[in-house]
């Protein structure tokens, strides 16, 4: 009897936490579906409409939200691809060879993860104006390396370190070159890891706010900054803000659900393995 009561209490506590966790998302859905004239008159009873989404995706408020969405896609994918190209060889090298300076380099990379972003952004803000990189894709992809590169290098390093070197050695004995052993043996084995870490890096790049806030103004602005623009003005448009917020969280949420299994290692930079 006492055991059942305890079990019931635990379940209740859990449900309470999940109400706290999920209610805001549900409330955004409700707000985004409200017609403008019922925004403040009622809370849970209203006649749903897609007008909010039409306005946001139709750029009719003078905020080119669709373009911001495309910008987010472009710079996030660009940042991840660049990080993979330079990060995978580096991760492999640091997992397979101990050489002078490798640890220092790895920790320098990791320290980017914990540096206050503005330490780098303010000088870049000045520098980008001079170089013509302000408000451009190239400028954004470059600065997003701060987010994506440490993540990809550290996590891929832990995946490569988990591979037994024997497989590559066997390949070398079969007459493969080092390069072939890497591309034909090592890489295919860590493919799931690469996929997961790429998606995670994409999510973090997508969710970044402070870089586009300071280093873009319009051309290369992203959804995180764009969503905030709907709150401006003297009559905040709650339904539009909610719709914009929801549209901008769809990609990261969908991707996150596909990489659940890899999240522990990813979120802890390889410090915790499940």
């Amino acid at each position: 009897m006492r055991k059942r009561l305890v079990g019931w209490l635990c379940d209740t506590a859990l449900i309470l936490y999940f109400v706290f966790a999920l209610f805001p998302i549900a409330w955004m859905v409700i707000l985004s579906l409200k017609p403008a004239d019922q925004l403040f008159s009622t809370y849970f009873s209203f006649s749903p409409t897609l007008d909010g989404y039409r306005t946001v995706l139709g750029d009719s408020e003078g905020i080119p939200f669709v373009r911001f969405f495309v910008n987010s896609l472009v710079v996030s994918v660009g940042a991840v691809v660049l990080s993979l190209v330079v990060g995978l060889p580096a991760a492999y090298a640091s997992a397979r060879w101990r050489f002078k300076g490798s640890e220092n380099l790895m920790f320098t990379l990791l320290s980017f993860r914990f540096a206050p972003e503005l330490t780098v952004i303010i000088p870049l803000f000045v520098l980008y104006q001079k170089l013509g990189l302000f408000d451009t894709y190239v400028g954004m992809v470059w600065v997003l390396q701060l987010v994506t590169l440490p993540l990809i290098v550290w996590i891929m390093r832990s995946y490569f370190a988990d591979l037994t070197p024997e497989l590559e050695q066997a390949a070398l004995l079969d007459g493969y070159t080092r390069k072939q052993a890497f591309f034909k043996v090592a890489l295919p084995l860590v493919k799931p890891g690469i996929a997961a870490v790429s998606l995670l890096a994409f999510i973090f790049a997508w969710n970044n706010f402070v870089f586009p806030l300071i280093l873009t103004s319009n051309e290369a602005q992203t959804v995180t900054v764009g969503a905030l623009s709907f709150l401006g003005g003297d009559r905040p448009k709650y339904n539009l803000t909610a719709a914009a917020a929801l549209v901008s969280v769809v990609p990261p949420l969908l991707l996150a659900l596909t990489i659940q299994r890899y999240l522990v290692r990813g979120l802890s930079f390889g410090a915790v393995k499940s």
């Binding site: 805001p24 409330w27 580096a90 060879w97 206050p116 503005l118 303010i122 970044n208 995180t224």
Partner: protein, 294 residues
Amino acid sequence: MGWRITLRPYVLIVPALLLTCGILYPFGLGLYYTLFDFSASKPQPDMVRFENYRAVFTQEAFWNSAWVTVLYAVGAALAETVLGVAVALLLHRSTLIGRVLEKILILPLMIAPVIAAIIWKLMLQPSVGVVNHLLRPFGLGGVQWTDTPTGALLSSIAVDVWVYTPFVAILALAGLRSLPTSPFEAAAVDGAGWWYTFRRLTLPMLWPYVLVAVIFRFMDSLKVFDIIYALTEGGPGDSTVVLQIRAYLEAIRFQRYSFGISYTIVLWAVVYLAAMVLVKHLGKIQRKAAEVTT
């Protein structure tokens, strides 16, 4: 052949090294700027040596910001740890309800913090927000959430907790699932109670996992920006002006670049020191946990 073997790792690492230098360059440039009085109104700056730092440390505003930042970071990290571990323990019981809920645990964590702040800003509006509407039956319909200094700080911490509790919970849950079972079986045979088992076995063995989460959360919330920017912009007054917000206002809004960067360099030093202390501590804890296990 020999030289090729030794050169190979360097060749592989060169691209990453170049990119790292590309990020280190602005950082170095920033350090360099702090020795000048560079601002939009003074594009030809003079060398002022450490005057900027002296100015930072003698400003009331800096100490206020430092205090707010520490309050925020300690509050957020503490609340997230307690709540995250609790959620992990509850999910670890693996009831039917828990297994269903676990699948959606990460949702808030994948929402951009700035969007989370926007969502809560709409919900916390005193007159039309849904939170006060739901509290009205309990006679609490008029709480001025983000309009009082204490309320604004607590609200921003609450948003942080909403976003990042799953982070702690996921790591703690991974820890719980990797604990060896034999000590627990032995404790059960000896008739140890739940509390005793938790204090003497679960917590010490779980602590290394939790500490990794705490380190991440504490260091991240020291440099919080997005949530405060969207929720309160540092207000009311300067009750939520954390260091990165202060740096932003100085450098971007008032265009005093050198001074703004000085703020972030000081913050960077603090974060770095905190990291050193915490990581050292982590090593100790991990060794201790290993003793409990054996």
